[in-house]
């Protein structure tokens, strides 16, 4: 089938042609993608401006989840408050936010969710079991869903208020706390940051070291060439060997420099430490009640009375060395009398 030179020429033509088709195909694909993004572009429902026509168009969204462009907001809300063009909800100008998402209801939902989560901020450790925590999470989700989709708004709001009243302490306490997952995340981020920083420092130091070593080596060669009697080729060869050695040395010298990231107390340096006061323990005050000892014998005279009653007359007085430790002759006498008096009466009953 294929024979002779003519076919060869045809093939060359084919080659060139192929190049063109390639380019064309690529261009078509790109054009398509441009068209698509344009179609996706949204605009202001009131003045009908689109992003394509006005690249600096800024869409805003309020609590009701309906979009308006910045200019329309400025115009309609000159007096600070007005009603939504689409759903007639009374709105304030200050509540307008830049629309982050394509679907304005998501903007609205996120707004609501943030508010709800400020109140419903119980953590997993506030519950005795995972099951209850999950039930709680679902409840929260229900509230957000209702508020976003305007289902049973009044009741839901009441429920929220009631919850807020009942759980004021918990809400207050949990305000500054992160969930366990978030803590883990923070820690990971911290680690990542540190390792990045460390790597950067290492590379920098490494470069410095290499530069210095090379400079030194070069200088040494120059010095030698100046002073030595040996032929220059030999010196150059030596230098080459040394340079190679240096290279390998540099390769090996990769000592890890550990940065200090911990305080001596074990707290991470950039960790936020909670400065809240330690919670007080409320309890009944302690009242001292003298100890009543049942001795089963005649009453023992009090320690102070021993001298007066003459018990101490026949006891060796304490010498100065003994009193240094807090010993008095009364103590020993008292102990001995207690011992002697107890258990003298027979047990009753």
């Amino acid at each position: 089938m294929i024979c002779g030179r003519d076919h060869g020429d045809q093939n060359t033509a084919q080659i060139v042609d192929l190049g063109f088709t390639l380019h064309r195909r690529r261009r078509n694909r790109l054009l398509k993608s441009v068209v698509q993004t344009e179609m996706d572009e949204q605009g202001c429902p009131r003045c009908k401006t689109t992003k394509y026509r006005n690249p600096s168009l800024k869409l805003m969204v309020n609590v009701c989840g309906h979009t308006l462009c910045e200019n329309c907001v400025e115009m309609l809300f000159v007096r600070g408050s007005s009603n939504c063009v689409q759903c007639d909800t009374p709105l304030r100008k200050s509540n307008f936010r830049v629309q982050l998402f394509e679907d304005p209801t998501v903007d609205k939902e996120v707004e609501i969710r943030k508010k709800v989560l400020k109140i419903y901020n119980k953590r997993d450790f506030d519950f005795p079991s995972l099951r209850e925590y999950n039930d709680y999470l679902e409840q929260v989700e229900d509230i957000v869903y209702n508020l976003t989709n305007n289902v049973d708004v009044e009741n839901t709001k009441l429920r929220m208020e009631q919850y807020q009243r009942e759980n004021r302490d918990v809400i207050q306490r949990n305000k500054a706390k992160l969930t366990r997952e978030q803590e883990e995340l923070e820690e990971l981020l911290l680690q990542e940051q540190q390792s990045n920083e460390q790597r950067r420092l290492e590379v920098l130091q490494e470069e410095q070291r290499q530069l210095q070593a090379k400079r030194k080596n070069k200088q040494a060669l120059l010095d030698e060439l100046e002073q030595s009697q040996l032929p220059a080729t030999l010196l150059l060869a030596q230098h080459k060997v040394r340079a190679a050695q240096l290279e390998t040395q540099i390769e090996q010298q990769k000592q890890a420099v550990k940065p200090t990231s911990l305080f001596s107390t074990g707290i991470h340096m950039r960790q936020t430490v909670s400065l809240q006061p330690v919670t007080k323990i409320e309890d009944v005050l302690y009242h001292y009640r003298p100890l009543q000892v049942e001795t089963y014998g005649p009453p023992v005279p009090e320690l102070e009375q021993l001298g007066r009653l003459g018990y101490l007359n026949h006891v060796r007085a304490a010498v100065t060395q003994d009193t240094a430790g807090g010993y008095t002759s009364g103590l020993a006498c008292y102990r001995a009398i207690q011992d002697a008096f107890s258990g003298l009466f027979p047990l009753r009953g």
Partner: protein, 682 residues
């Protein structure tokens, strides 16, 4: 013939055997005995497949309780067909020799439309299918979940396995994916509404199940019935689905928020690169999505799709992709990176934002395989350097061996051409890309070769762009015209249909004696899957070193990760990657011992020890000092000499006793000693 391999009776369906096959089986048996993993490199065309099959089948018969199943993974459909063909031969031999009809059941899964989910698969002794069935979490969950623990897994042609692993875990999200996902979510919502009116009990039943948690799956995993799925992390199984996504409506709302968040992220003006924790933190701040529900996302979606009884899951591929992404990003804090590019590098004026969630750690995808199966064998014609594979795949092999090709005549001739006739250094490095002197010398090399090499020549370039430039330049300089006096020229393009057409015509031209040159690209379709036996490829010319495009951010992130986690230096990996592709390309020409071919490396950088040392041992052995840094003229002289030698008649008897053995020859003391030297342990 029947072989005795360290006490194991192996039926081998051919009358002759290559010494390296015997050596290969020896190593393989030791791997199976040790119940460990192995990395084995043996040149292509020396009968790797049949050695593998006959040994493992024999092992299965001898120790039916030790090894219950062979899972043979290959790369392309033609390769799978080849394996099945060999297997058939082996089975016929068994029936002939033993006289009994064998009760071996083998099964090949070729494409998704032939996908078989019959329970019979569980009882098959041999399963042959593509890598993806085991590595891609989405497919593996369907197909390979219930494979027995006592299986032997073989990855053939595994030199690219790390890339397959990475691709199977990476997710690319474009604006189109998100739009399709949006439609999916809308459909889901509508279906939920409909079902709520008609069959609310179904949703309640699902809800009850979710409250109970995913206990069933957990029991299954603990009792070790299923292969672990990297998209379904262990922690999930031990917990119930979080309350925030338990009901269907809430979950759809959750997906909607996640989707809107992704859309807002795609609206970037400049390239963003961030880690998974950074992404999670941002998503919490923007749309109040916690990490935990994200982690359950993939599983929750599957449950919902099951409950809604959606038959055509393919329609929901976009939302499945997004949910997989959610699970992966919240599960793995390391080994992945997120890169958001607002436009392609080539067209910086046209917005086409892509979110690449790219896996940098191939070991994540393959880990369940290594953990579950008692022996995993990784084998290919080009696996050099062997030690890098265990490192990047994170496993400990018990055997690592590279086998050489025993040859009766030196049938391959690697030449490294470093200079043109005018002493200009030949190189495809960036600085000399546009250098006319280099391009002219490359053209000269091809011209001279086209004059002396019979039949087909395959030339590989480093990239499509480079090829286009060079060919255009050759056309202007009139080199192309001169070449066409000798041979026809065909070109590989990025279009599959055009390429297969060119390939067909190329083979036709080789067949009828006109002679042809195929210009193709390393890493392209031709370089990976197509063999050029005998006259289809008498010479392969590799123009330049096929380094991967190093400016890509994904590659940069991966290199950084390799350096930090595995202590593999950037340059080492890049060179390794370039050399394995170069070896693949030049290996296309030699597909057996009777075949012969020139391998011309046209770049002076190949002469360096660090590059040369990374070529497979069976090629390296034939590179001597005389074939380094040649000029074009010298290469032509050597080639002429080589081709004249090779053109002499070559009979089977010449090979016997040297590179082809009968049973008696194999059992001689002297030969057994020689065989022990073939395997090169590392």
């Amino acid at each position: 013939m029947k072989l005795n391999i360290e006490g194991l009776l192996v039926y081998f369906p051919y009358d002759y055997i290559y010494p390296e096959q015997y050596s290969y089986m020896l190593e393989l048996k030791r791997t199976l005995d040790a119940k460990g993993h192995g990395v084995l490199e043996m040149p292509s065309g020396t009968g790797k497949t049949i050695s593998l099959l006959s040994l493992i089948v024999a092992y299965q018969r001898a120790f039916p309780l030790e090894v219950t199943k062979l899972i043979y993974c290959s790369r392309t459909v033609p390769e799978i067909e080849k394996v099945v063909e060999e297997l058939r031969k082996l089975m016929e031999f068994y029936t002939k020799e033993t006289g009994e009809s064998n009760n071996f059941l083998a099964l090949a899964l070729s494409s998704r439309k032939n996908l078989c989910i019959h329970p019979e698969i569980l009882h098959a002794n041999i399963v042959v299918y593509s890598y993806h069935y085991l590595l891609d979490p989405k497919i593996a969950d369907l197909v390979s979940k219930e494979l027995a623990k006592k299986s032997v897994v073989v990855f053939d042609e595994a030199h690219n396995i790390d890339n397959v692993c990475i691709d199977s875990m990476s997710v690319n999200i474009t604006r189109r994916t998100l739009d399709r996902c949006q439609t999916n979510v809308d459909t889901l919502q509508n279906t939920i509404h409909k079902i709520k009116e008609t069959d609310a009990a179904k949703l309640r039943e699902e809800y009850r199940r979710l409250v109970e948690g995913l206990k069933e799956a957990n029991v299954a995993r603990e009792t070790d019935i299923y292969l672990a799925n990297p998209v379904l992390p262990d922690e999930i199984l031990q917990e119930a689905v979080p309350g925030s996504i338990r009901t269907a409506e809430h979950f759809v709302g959750f997906m909607r928020r996640f989707l809107e968040y992704l859309k807002s992220r795609l609206r970037v003006q400049h390239v963003v690169q961030e880690s998974a924790p950074q992404f999670l933190k941002d998503i919490f701040e923007k749309v109040c999505i916690d990490r935990k529900p994200l982690r359950f996302c993939a599983e929750r979606l599957q449950s919902l799709l099951r409950t809604l009884e959606i038959a055509d899951i393919a329609d929901f591929s976009a939302v499945t992709l997004i949910s997989n992404f959610a699970t992966l990003v919240s599960t793995y804090s390391q080994g992945f990176t997120i890169i958001i590019e607002p436009f392609e590098d080539r067209t910086p004026t046209i917005a086409n934002p892509v979110l690449h969630f790219s896996c940098m750690d191939p070991s994540i995808a393959i880990k369940p395989v290594f953990q579950r199966f008692q022996s995993v064998v990784i084998t290919s014609g080009t696996l050099s350097p062997l030690d890098i594979y265990p490192r990047i795949l994170d496993f400990r092999p018990v055997t690592m061996a590279s086998f050489t090709m025993t040859l009766a005549r030196t049938c391959l001739c690697p030449l490294i051409v470093g200079r043109g006739n005018d002493q200009v250094a030949l190189s495809s490095k960036f600085e000399t890309r546009e250098d006319f002197a280099v391009i002219r010398n490359y053209g000269n090399l091809l011209l001279e070769m086209s004059a002396i090499v019979p039949d087909g020549i395959v030339a590989f370039f480093t990239s499509y762009v480079y090829m286009e430039n060079i060919v255009a330049s050759w056309y202007e300089q009139g080199i192309l015209e001169n070449i066409q006096r000798n041979k026809l020229i065909f070109i590989e393009t990025q279009d599959a249909a055009e390429t297969s057409m060119a390939l067909e015509k190329y083979q036709e031209a080789c067949e009828n004696g006109r002679g042809a040159i195929l210009l193709s690209v390393a890493r392209g379709k031709v370089s990976e899957g197509i063999d050029f036996v005998h006259h289809y490829g008498r010479a392969v010319i590799m123009f330049g070193v096929p380094y991967v495009y190093t400016q890509s951010r994904i590659l940069k992130a991966r290199l950084e990760y390799l350096r930090d986690q595995f202590q593999i230096r950037e340059n080492d990996f890049l060179t390794f990657d370039a050399m394995r592709h170069a070896a693949q390309c030049v290996g296309r020409a030699i597909r057996g011992k009777t075949d012969y071919g020139l391998m011309i490396f046209a770049d002076k950088r190949y002469a360096r020890a660090d590059k040369r040392g990374k070529l497979p041992r069976w090629i390296q052995e034939h590179i001597n000092d005389g074939s380094l840094n040649l000029t074009v003229d010298e290469a032509v002289q050597l080639s002429k000499h080589f081709l004249r030698q090779m053109a002499q008649p070559f009979r089977q008897e010449d090979q016997l006793g040297l590179s082809l053995l009968t049973l008696e020859q194999l059992e001689s003391e002297e030969m057994l000693q020689k065989i022990t030297q073939i395997a090169h342990q590392t």
